[in-house]
């Protein structure tokens, strides 16, 4: 082996194998390419769940047609579907405010948890002052406080947003804090040795380290958020799926209550799926690296 050749030869017989650089198909923007794979995976993983759901609905239909309960007690799935379709305009006009509340509420909750987690991470005093209050806030019974919000703030958007924030900011804050703490001490030292200050360390190291944790928390929070919106409406609202369900229940339209429940579940699932899309856009490196690491093990 001679070492005199001026241009250095790359990786002479390096074990372990290397991966060819990722190439991008012509004419497609990066985000389309990044999303194609999770969508394909999503569909291929969805069909067993759909089969399971179909079996459940079939059983429900079978039981109801065997024991013939009063449709105000338990309607058939077919009736729920038919009545839901007939009243689709009404259902949709009540779904829109619920979705709006959920999205606004989540956005506020994320802002609150980002501020809290950053403050707690950067300052020991904030940790000692805020962290116990944070935990205490979770023992506030939502069932008691939500009607008070209605009394204080009326029937508009604000009381629902407050309920959602109260319910969802905790999982996102805690997951962010866990994520910040997962930062490797050696990596922090490296940043410091390179002349980086605390701010640089925070943005270039702690935040990216925390992102996977954050998305786990976000998924927990999103499923709570829809529920919180429904609950916020249930205690008092002009429109929305929560108040719609209550009104239809009082009118003994159990079929429409079920239809609204199905719609709520759909909204939840779509929001949940959106967290994966968002994750793919924010952390394009993450899922691929996880797969390769699993493959190596």
């Amino acid at each position: 082996m001679t070492l005199t050749g001026a241009p250095f030869q790359t990786t002479a017989g390096e074990p372990g194998g290397t991966f060819a650089p990722a190439t991008r198909p012509e004419g497609r923007p990066g985000w389309v390419v990044r999303l194609r794979e999770p969508l394909r995976l999503g569909f291929s993983r969805l069909w067993p769940a759909l089969v399971g759901l179909a079996v459940l609905i079939g059983l429900w239909q079978l039981i109801v047609s065997l024991i013939h309960p009063n449709p105000t007690v338990l309607p058939t799935p077919a009736r729920v579907a038919a009545q839901g379709w007939t009243n689709r305009g009404q259902l949709w006009s009540n779904a829109v405010p619920t979705i709006e509340e959920t999205v606004v509420g989540m956005a506020c909750a994320l802002a609150v948890s980002a501020i809290l987690a950053t403050a707690i991470d950067l300052s020991a005093i904030a940790r000692r002052v805020v962290y116990p209050l944070l935990v205490a806030s979770q023992s506030i019974p939502t069932i008691v406080i939500a009607p008070l919000f209605v009394i204080w703030f009326g029937f508009g958007l604000l009381p629902k947003v407050l309920v959602i924030v109260l319910v969802t900011f905790f999982p996102t804050t805690v997951s962010l804090l866990e994520g910040f703490n997962a930062t490797e001490e050696e990596a922090s030292r490296l940043i410091r040795s390179m002349g980086g200050g605390r701010l640089a360390e925070f943005w270039k190291l702690r935040v990216p380290t925390a992102l996977p944790f954050f998305f786990t928390g976000l998924r927990v929070a999103v499923s709570f958020a829809v529920l919180a919106a429904i609950f916020g409406e249930w205690v008092g609202a002009v429109n929305g799926l929560g108040i719609y369900m209550e009104l239809e229940k009082n009118a003994l339209r159990t079929d429409l209550v079920f239809a609204a429940v199905v719609l709520t579940a759909l909204i939840s699932m779509i929001l949940y799926a959106l967290t994966f899309v968002l994750q793919k856009l924010v952390m394009p490196w993450y899922s691929r690296s996880r797969r390769i690491e699993r493959g190596r093990r």
């Binding site: 030869q9 290397t18 650089p21 990722a22 030292r189 040795s193």
Partner: protein, 272 residues
């Protein structure tokens, strides 16, 4: 070693003079370093070897300005720089590449932290990628690279900062034998080309011999410099160098020095 090569050497000389460090652990005080003195002249490759737990890492942290010694000082070109980290570029054992940064941005991290704009930092790293055998991988994420390539990115990240002294802390310790040997030969070649001032900390004796101009052997805790060995092998060094009788002699000498508690302690060699 021919004198001609010296003229084009970069970097600064670095000197550790009488450094002592004691840690307090659960009440008891533990002396880790006892009057350590060593030096690397400008453009010299110097290694420090010692048994595990001998305080190599502590010395390294003191050199890198991450810890302060109880007494003694670190001097660069004669100037006291104890506790200052801005003169040293440091490469730890773990590559510590950031999974969310592409190869080029990982390599440019140090420059960005010094306040350079990302585009400027990239522009500065770009021409070096080929030298480091990474030009095809600039846009890859670290998980797409093999262990050897990751370590080369880490070295590029270290040297591109153009700091006067480069500190390497067992940089190839986590790699398999073949990759490690490959990278040692490669590093030797890179050093021939750039003549950085390097302090390498390792417990790999052949690695130290292959790469260094001089090797300091530390004893077990509390560490003193047991011996300083000049490596009088010619350069450039390649795989054949490992088979020479001089290499074997040096290896035996160093191993004896590292292992032998029966061997007499050689007095600390003061700075020249």
């Amino acid at each position: 070693m021919t004198g001609d090569a010296r003229s084009e050497r970069h970097g600064s000389s670095i000197e550790v003079a009488g450094v002592t460090k004691t840690f307090a652990r659960s009440g008891a005080s533990l002396m880790v370093l006892d009057q350590i003195s060593l030096e690397a002249r400008a453009g010299e490759f110097v290694s420090v070897i010692g048994p595990s737990g001998c305080g190599k890492s502590t010395m390294f942290n003191i050199l890198a300005g991450l810890e302060t010694p109880d007494c003694g000082e670190v001097r660069m070109d004669g100037r006291v720089v104890t506790g200052q980290c801005e003169h040293f570029a440091y490469m730890p054992q773990k590559d510590l590449l950031f999974g969310w940064r592409r190869v080029i941005d990982n390599a440019a991290l140090g420059l960005e932290l010094q306040g350079m704009k990302r585009s400027d930092a990239r522009a500065k790293v770009e021409p070096l990628l080929e030298t480091f055998g990474l030009s095809d991988f600039a846009r890859c994420y670290p998980f797409e690279l093999s262990g050897g390539m990751r370590q080369r990115v880490a070295l590029l990240r270290t040297v591109v900062q153009e700091r006067p002294v480069i500190l390497l802390d067992e940089p190839f310790g986590a790699l398999d034998y073949l990759t490690r040997t490959d990278l040692q030969l490669w590093l030797s070649q890179m050093w021939e080309r750039f003549h950085w001032t390097v302090v390498l900390i390792t417990h790999d004796v052949p690695e130290a011999i292959l790469l260094s101009d001089r090797i300091y052997v530390l004893g077990p805790r509390p560490s003193v410099v047991r011996r300083c060995v000049e490596v009088d092998l010619g350069r450039p060094r390649d795989l054949d160098c490992l088979g020479t009788s001089r290499f074997a002699e040096l290896e035996e000498l160093l191993l004896h020095e590292l292992r032998g508690s029966d061997a007499p302690l050689v007095r600390t060699r003061g700075p020249v």
